[in-house]
């Protein structure tokens, strides 16, 4: 019961091949799994265990340490409202309540149409722009209920709200789990090679270059 689709399985194998020890690929593969499904499913963990020569519980244990890996279904858009002190002082509580009613969801759950998951966030390190919320980790600063509503309208209409965000991003909003819009590529010439740490005797190659 392979989890990864054909394309991702290829990518997964390529990722595993980057490391001298297969288990180093555990977290990159969790990202890949989350990208494929939006969250990390049981079959995903089991296949990752197989690919990285670990056990399923090691995959689960490692993954659950990281808040951004989700082990339950998540909507296409993950909305997080910061309620830490700076945001709270500048209206996060109102925003929080507004999101709840606007989307008709409880914190920590997903709308019936599977589009939005709503979570409370700890300080997202943008206190100067409080209050903040994020959609799939894209920031919206000095947020108001109105701004939030506009974003939701865009998303529901299939349009990108990113231009309303802080980064002046004109691109599309990728679905939850997408790590980046451009996939990482490591050309052969730049690869450090896959020597096992124990096999490495001399200093790193670039040191010789300098000398």
């Amino acid at each position: 019961m392979a989890f990864f689709n054909e394309e991702n399985e290829e990518i997964a194998k390529e990722i595993v091949g980057r490391y001298p020890v297969a288990r180093s690929a555990l977290i990159p593969l969790l990202h890949l799994a989350q990208e494929q499904e939006g969250w990390i499913t049981k079959p995903a963990m089991e296949q990752i265990a197989e690919l990285t020569d670990t056990t399923s519980v090691e995959v689960l244990g490692t993954g659950t340490f990281y808040e951004m890996f989700k082990f339950h279904p998540v909507g296409k858009y993950l909305i997080k409202v910061c309620t830490n002190i700076s945001c709270q002082l500048l209206g996060a509580d109102e925003l929080f309540e507004h999101v709840k009613t606007a989307l008709d969801v409880e914190e920590g759950s997903t709308t019936e149409d599977g589009l939005f998951t709503f979570e409370e966030a700890e300080c997202v390190a943008a206190c100067t722009e409080a209050p903040c919320f994020t959609v799939n980790y894209r920031y919206f600063h000095r947020a108001t209920p109105e701004l939030f509503d506009e974003v939701v309208v865009d998303l529901k209409a299939g349009e990108s709200p990113l231009s309303k965000g802080c980064a002046d991003d004109q691109g599309v909003m990728p679905k939850h789990g997408t790590l980046s819009r451009v996939r990482q590529q490591i050309p052969k010439t730049r690869s450090a090679g896959i020597k096992h740490p124990e096999e490495i005797k001399g200093p790193p190659s670039w040191i010789e270059e300098v000398v």
Binding site: T54, T55, S56, V57, E58, L60, G61, T64, F65, Y66
Partner: protein
Amino acid sequence: MTDITSAETAVSITVDGKKVTAKPGELLIDACERNGTYIPRFCHHSRMQPVGMCRMCLVEIDTGRGPALQPSCMIECSNEMVVDTQSKKTIKAQEGVLEFLLINHPLDCPICDKGGECPLQDQTMAFGPGESRFIEEKRTYRKPIPVNENVFLDRERCVLCDRCTRFADQVAGDSLIHFIDRGNKTQVNTYPDQPFSSYFSGNTVQICPVGALTAAPFRFKARPWDLTEVESTSTFDSVGNRISVQESRDRVLRFTGVDSDSVNWGWLTDKERFIFEAYSNENRLSGPLTTNEVAEGSQKHAVATSWSEAYEKFVKAINETTPERIAVIGGSRLTNEAQYIWSKIAKGIIGTDNVDAQLDDGFSPEVLLSLNPSTIDKTCKPGGVIILLGADPKEELGALYLRLRHAILQDQCKLIELTPTKTGLSQLATHSIRVPPGKTLEAVKALSGEPSELEDDILKELTKVQKIIKNNDSISVLLGRTSLAETSSIVEEGAIKLQEYLPKASFLPLLRRGNINGAIDMGLSPGLLPGRCDLEEGSDKLQNYWPTCPTHKGFKTKEMFEAATDGQIDVLILLAADPIMDFPDSQLVQEALDRIETVIAVDIFATDSVLQADIVLAAATATEIEGSFTNLEGRISPIRKSVTPPGTARPDWMIALDLVQYLVPNLGPSTFKELCEEISLVSGIHKDFDFSKVEQIDKEGVVLNRGKNKTQTSLIKIPKQKANSFRLVVTRSMYDKGVLSAHSSALKGLAPGSRIKANPKDMEKLGITSDSTVRLIGLKGEIQTRLTPDPETTRGTIHALWNQDGPDIRKLIDSSLPVNDLKIEKI
């Protein structure tokens, strides 16, 4: 880890104003403890790598830059280090850590199994603040969840010390429990639907510093302060692990491992840990039985009798026949002392040499005696090479497996496997070579550079092995049976050849039955007398103590059964042996038992074989006797009595001493003390050993110097495997249908069941799938079964597990053949 043994210069540190010396590289917490200062700890465990998880061991350490709080379990001692374990800061830190640990820890000590022996409880008393400021609600979890059949986890109580998870990962290599989630929600758990199925799971219960992990057999059975404990030796397998036997109201309630440096490091397999349940099982034999005279001729029917009547019957049966028509099988469950006295009865009083403690599943003692002896420590010497010639230590001798695993992973030992099947260590092996069954000698020949008939790819691998061997002068060989469906000579010849090629190599024989090494030392083997000497050499010494002594070498177990089927055996004495279950060729056993006039069994359970006996003498078991045990290294350690045997069952040595009196009145020894003295007098290898003071031996035991003999073996001819035939390989697994496991509720359900495996390519060629039923045809019998495709199974072989539910593979084994080749027919 740093090898602290090889460094010469000790370092000097100051602990609480006192100068002490530490070994270089030693962890501060250990150095302090060795010098009498105990630093509290939860996560630190000297048999595992430090993690610095709990912070309980914070002390003020000054390495020249002023004192600072540091975890002493993570800091290696360095010269001039100044440590203050009593400073205000240290105390405040330790109190703080404890207060934090107790925030979420339930105060359910009164109903917690750990209460009374709980490091958290004890250290809170000794180092805690005495009061809590926490008034909020504690975090709760569902009360205990099973992590496997026998171990329960109460997550509320867990202090996240990482001991159990480190054990699973580092020591056992079964990373099936792990920390899950983070922060306040962190918990130990298994993956959903994947239990912590490890042969070693019980150890986590032993090392958990709180009551979070508990073992089903002990849950709510007793309070620790009600237990009386004695230190003893596990007689279950031949590693002879040191254990603490804990009893309350004359019932054994728990075994725990004792940390002995040279043997088990505190670890036990679950099988050894929970086997005590069988000892107190109510189905134990509690008195002597004989077959009902009235019913004779029809079905045998056992009735209770008195000891004197049973003894008289025993003597009568012996006197009615001649010595060479009497056979004795078994004895590996007995203590050394009982083995000696039974050896005397058989060889010195009755005068038969048909005595064998091995059930054709071990090795010829002559061969073992001709090899350089080894110990576990020597085998695991850092940097050495370990050659495995057979048997899977993980399945057969679990504690040894843990030592080997450590040697490979932490001490840079290289493992070379020359076995027909994959083992539990294969993944860690530098070279894991699948030598086809029957070809061990060929592999060794190739290693020593002689021409060999193995295939090229194996030869290529072996050339690489040669290089490793050449460059290493610490080479140890583990010698176990590769398969129960082939003769032991296959591995024996390989071992002898290897000894010739590597005269410095030492050998550790993996005979697995309990005290089998003691049995051989005491002469429970054809052609041997106590002290491992042969009949000629030994008889002089015994003259004054033994009325008689056999002059001709007697039969081995297999030969005894063969002779019995020819009507040459009248009396068979089974010393805690169950050949119907344990001997590879079950049909031969049944035919033999049917023809033997009188079968006498000394045992603790009514096993299949005991049920066919005419006289049954109920024996005491390991927790009910005093005595000693000899492990596979020749290490003697004490077995201590903890409880009384059921009914009138008595220790084997006592039964035997009684019988001596019945057979030859007034012949010694008549007391246990005399028995002990007699052994030292007659057995050369025990001459400096005082059996009557065995309980004074410490947990490391005493290794006997057993010397070494020369041996000659005649090469046996292994028939060439016919095309389209499949060679049968039968190996043991940790859990099987054994009588002890069957009587322990913790172990009962754990046998994996029969899975007869074949290589998928072979199956494809024959046009069979895992769904097709096939007939496996051996020379003597056949069975119908399905085959499980398994790419690890060598092509041209069939791999089956010994003694499991399902089709009886013993039907396929003809023990008169050196190897058993099968035909497969599709139905």
